[in-house]
Symmetry: C3
Subunit: 205 residues, 3 copies
Amino acid sequence: VPFQAIPREQSFFGLFERAAANVAAGARELAALSSNLADGEAASGRLRDIEHEGDELTHRIMATLNTTFVTPFDREDIYRLATVLDDILDAGEAVADLLVLHRIEEPLPELRQQAEVLVRATEVISKAVSRLRSLTGLNGYLIEINRLENEGDRIYRKTIARLYSGEFKAMEVLKWKDVLDQMETAIDGCEDIANVIESITLKHA
Amino acid sequence: VPFQAIPREQSFFGLFERAAANVAAGARELAALSSNLADGEAASGRLRDIEHEGDELTHRIMATLNTTFVTPFDREDIYRLATVLDDILDAGEAVADLLVLHRIEEPLPELRQQAEVLVRATEVISKAVSRLRSLTGLNGYLIEINRLENEGDRIYRKTIARLYSGEFKAMEVLKWKDVLDQMETAIDGCEDIANVIESITLKHA
Amino acid sequence: VPFQAIPREQSFFGLFERAAANVAAGARELAALSSNLADGEAASGRLRDIEHEGDELTHRIMATLNTTFVTPFDREDIYRLATVLDDILDAGEAVADLLVLHRIEEPLPELRQQAEVLVRATEVISKAVSRLRSLTGLNGYLIEINRLENEGDRIYRKTIARLYSGEFKAMEVLKWKDVLDQMETAIDGCEDIANVIESITLKHA
């Protein structure tokens, strides 16, 4: 065939949709783990598989970016979107790893609350990303992601306050701080994604 | 009126001047708080207002950037300048938050010393930013910002050494490390701003 | 002479080769220090000299970037390569500083293992950077850097698990965590460099 039926640049949308769905799958895995640490090693392995799938998708997005002259959005926005999706998965994998490395047996209920926020935020991201083709109907999703990030922030701060209140020993504080920070980093990444998407919509307004 | 009397791009200068003045106001609030923690919750609220004002200004700078074809500086420099001004305020707000969250009642004198360095550095930044229109007389300001960042670094390192010397309990070390790190991040941001401004001057030399 | 015999852009290659060799020298200094902490202050000083040399080279790369219209690679790749080389040295200097500040007298053997990985990775980086002119024979180097980063990651995780296992007191954990994190940051930077170089090769494929 002399011509590509689908212009190459269109592949960005499909790759981003798969990457966003993969991030949401990682968040669900993390929520399951946060409710039941007995399954730590196995869940950690499944998250690692999801993270490898994410790496593969990031790699394909970057390779497409590097070989495409006309992109549907600014190159830097494509780069940032791929990078931040990857960052969320990295932080999620770090949560699972730290739970295992620190041999944490009893999860803080607040970790599960954070994970539930992450699940909801990544599901909204997935919906938002599927609207990048049309760039319509995005506003409600962006507001919802910001609302969820604020909720995550509130949970994180409340938990840190409890952690340092004297109720826990220093070694426990050290272990949990690592875990909670990574979960907060994952949730923060959702807001970064909302910011990139907002910036894309502004440029195409 | 058929034409804009003031070309749109000129608005960047005014927005950056307001953003820099806002950052300096935040630093002064932080210095007051570092001298008197009794006022923690109220000062934390005032800093949050300043941070919201900063977010609003950042948002307007980014919106202007996304809708302006000819910018007075490279787009990436405008983006970085806005981002780093925002980062300084975020770190400053985190300092105030952590003092409250960790229920710290007695401030380390070193925190006040750091805050004073931040006040002076942000005042110099404010002066430097007001010279972005003319790009003259900047060199002295940049040198002064770097000198202050080095002074902040010296204070930070001296304080960390004392913190880990055995004089403090592990829980105290954990709490203070968080606070001092955020203050050091705010001061480091001042050097980042000097670097962006230097890069702008080099391109227009 | 009316014309430059060597086009200006060629100077990037020489500057990057010197910067990469300087980073490798820093890694060797760090490995020596990790084996023998008695020499802490002096080694810390030598690393600081190497770091200043690195700052000078970064500065020259950035100045050349800001005044060159046609660059051998994308401007952003040159910027990132210079930035990440600088980050590795910064993290290395932080390791040496923290060993002194925390008055650590007995090194963990795992720190030396990390340092050895960093030495090998920075030597491979140096070889890879010297091939940026031709962009040939890079693949094997990139694979080797990634393999070493994975090895560093494995050592880091094993060490963190031991550190939090109950064998160490909270204050020791606090001190060592800082040091190990900075060393891990330095090793992670090597992977970032491999990624930038890969991105350059893809664009010129």
